[in-house]
Amino acid sequence: MARYLARRVLTLIPLLLGISLVTFLLATATPGSPVSRLEFNPSARPADVARIKAQLGLDKPPVERYLDWLSHVARGDFGLSLITYRPVSTTILEKLPATLLLTGSALCLSLFFSIPIGIYTAARRNSWIDRVATIVTTGGIAVPTFWLGMMMIMLFSVKFRQWGLPALPSGGMYSLHGGGGFGDRLLHLAMPAVALAFVQTAVWMSYVRTQMIEVLQADYIRVAGAKGLSHWTVIGRHALRNAMLPLITLLALDIPALFGGAVVIETIFAWNGIGRLIVNATMQRDYTVVMGEVLIIAMITVLANLLADILYQLADPRLRHG
């Protein structure tokens, strides 16, 4: 296990280097630089432009710039925002908790609904509940997340208010007037979390069902049934553990999708997290912020994959080797 772990962690180093290289190349290979707007400014003297270029290190060859940048990134210094001149790392770190709250809630919601329904529909295959669930998952997977969010705002915020029903807040993380309490925050969290969880739930529901059906056809399940155990004991004691194993990997693989979804959902619901930050930074061409965020999200993804691999090793005795 220790050897496996060491090997697995070592493979992360080239991966992270590759991610940083791709990010750097994308940023530098495109035309334009932070001083472009000065170069085209008639009132800026060429000597000053050259001085600023030298200050920013833009006069050095690309390899040197990459190594320079990498050594700063390795120390957690992602540079300054081109718009606000605040450190990129602080900007991202102060918005990260909001995103983790949103994605975490969505994750919990998805698991809470997908696992029990997935198991039940697998156990009661071809019952009417199973048929309904299959239609819902097939239909649910195709829903564009941002449109779902828009329709929820349309119904629960706009129409409900027009009809005189109690409406949900259409955006923000808490009410500006007298808000900020737990209930108020929960109300604000409800719609974005459900919208973000929706598609994930449909995907996982069908996944759990397929896994479970596959496991239920295994010989040891038939043996357990032959011993006289009840249907649900067989499922709960024997089938569940084996069916849930691949879900660990799937969870880790879906982390990028969750962050991608958060980008859209945060923008629609004015949720002040890193997803909204990256969209705004993109609009303002604040590419140091975007670059920092790409690196941080990639790192989270890579670490989540590592964690999933380790958990998988721990959970599946067949894989304990070395």
Binding site: T30, M150, V158, V263, I297, T301
Partner: protein, 311 residues
């Protein structure tokens, strides 16, 4: 002279033999059987019909404008702002500038679907080629391609696209190429795995003995074997690209107004929640129906081409 003749003769005979064996195994070719399975799948047929209808509607956008709505996608009638559907000759109503929604839906769909199809085609060529070469050549090339896929798979596609969008603005064609450039990895891995398992087969050895070059073996013998995989991948990728394009345009970072796309029509509608719910509903519903139909079509193709591919 004699040798080349023998080899050429052998090369000629290999496929013939193969055909005879195949004919003995079953009367119909795999694709004929797949088509029969597909034709018996009612849901897949309905999905195909819907997908074709959407395709015709979008690619025939100028015809929709000429024959049905009699309005152009940019014709504004400010007095008719927010006309509800089915009134004053506006079949799907008019938007915030009094432009006909149905016409814009067709033109917007044309952009969205063109981007998705072009992106799928480009990603397919890139992913299949790199995957097949990686699997066949192996060594450092394989290692490089696989590490590259690791790198790209660690960054969410949408985040990567936002990053590139922060650096430059896209038109429909460049957007398609950029989407393809960040999402060929999954196919490359699938094709590589398939080629790895195929390249040690006897018939590949036979082709090599017959004097076939590496390019010919990969292009004529290995890649066609992976065709079912590629077809299914493409069918399931088109809808995801439609959503990616719509999401980017919705965020204001994809297709730029005044050119309509389903995504930026929704972005416009977002500002007018209170005036009209249909403006926010219709483009999204179009995306939803299209994505659902192509998804179901892809699943039908998967079941028909290779039942083992099912999840």
């Amino acid at each position: 002279m004699d040798e080349t003749h023998v080899v050429a003769h052998a090369a000629h005979r290999v496929p013939e033999n193969e055909n005879r064996i195949r004919a003995a195994a079953s009367a119909a070719s795999p694709y004929t059987r797949a088509w029969k399975r597909f034709a018996g799948d009612r849901i897949a047929l309905i999905a195909l019909t819907v997908a074709l209808f959407v395709l015709l509607f979008c690619l025939g956008a100028p015809l929709v404008s000429h024959l049905i709505t009699h309005r152009g996608p940019a014709d504004q009638v400010l007095l008719d702002r927010f006309t509800p559907p089915f009134t004053h000759g506006y079949i799907l109503g008019a938007d915030n500038l009094g432009r006909d929604e149905l016409t814009r839906l067709a033109y917007g769909g044309r952009v969205s679907i063109t981007v998705a199809l072009l992106a799928t085609l480009s990603a397919l060529m890139l992913g299949a080629t790199l995957g097949a070469l990686a699997g066949y050549v192996g060594g450092w090339f394989d290692a490089t391609v696989m590490r590259l896929t690791d790198v790209f798979l660690a960054i969410p596609v949408l985040v990567l696209l936002l990053f590139i969008a922060s650096l430059r603005t896209f038109g429909p064609y460049s957007l398609a190429l950029v989407i393809a450039g960040v999402s060929w990895m999954s196919l490359a891995r699938l094709v590589r795995a398939e080629v790895l398992s195929l390249r040690r087969r006897d018939w590949v050895e036979a082709a090599r003995v017959a004097g076939a070059s590496d390019w010919r073996i990969v292009g004529r013998h290995l890649l066609p074997q992976t065709a079912p995989l590629i077809i299914v991948w493409a069918a399931l990728t088109v809808p995801s690209f439609i959503i990616v394009e719509a999401t980017l345009s919705f965020l204001g970072l994809g297709i730029q107004v005044p050119e309509p796309s389903w995504g930026n029509m929704l972005n416009d509608a977002q500002k007018f929640y209170a005036q009209s719910w249909t403006l926010a509903f219709i483009p999204g519903a179009a995306i939803y129906v299209t994505v659902l139909a192509i998804n179901l079509l892809g699943q039908g193709l998967r079941d028909a081409l290779d039942p083992r591919l099912g999840r």
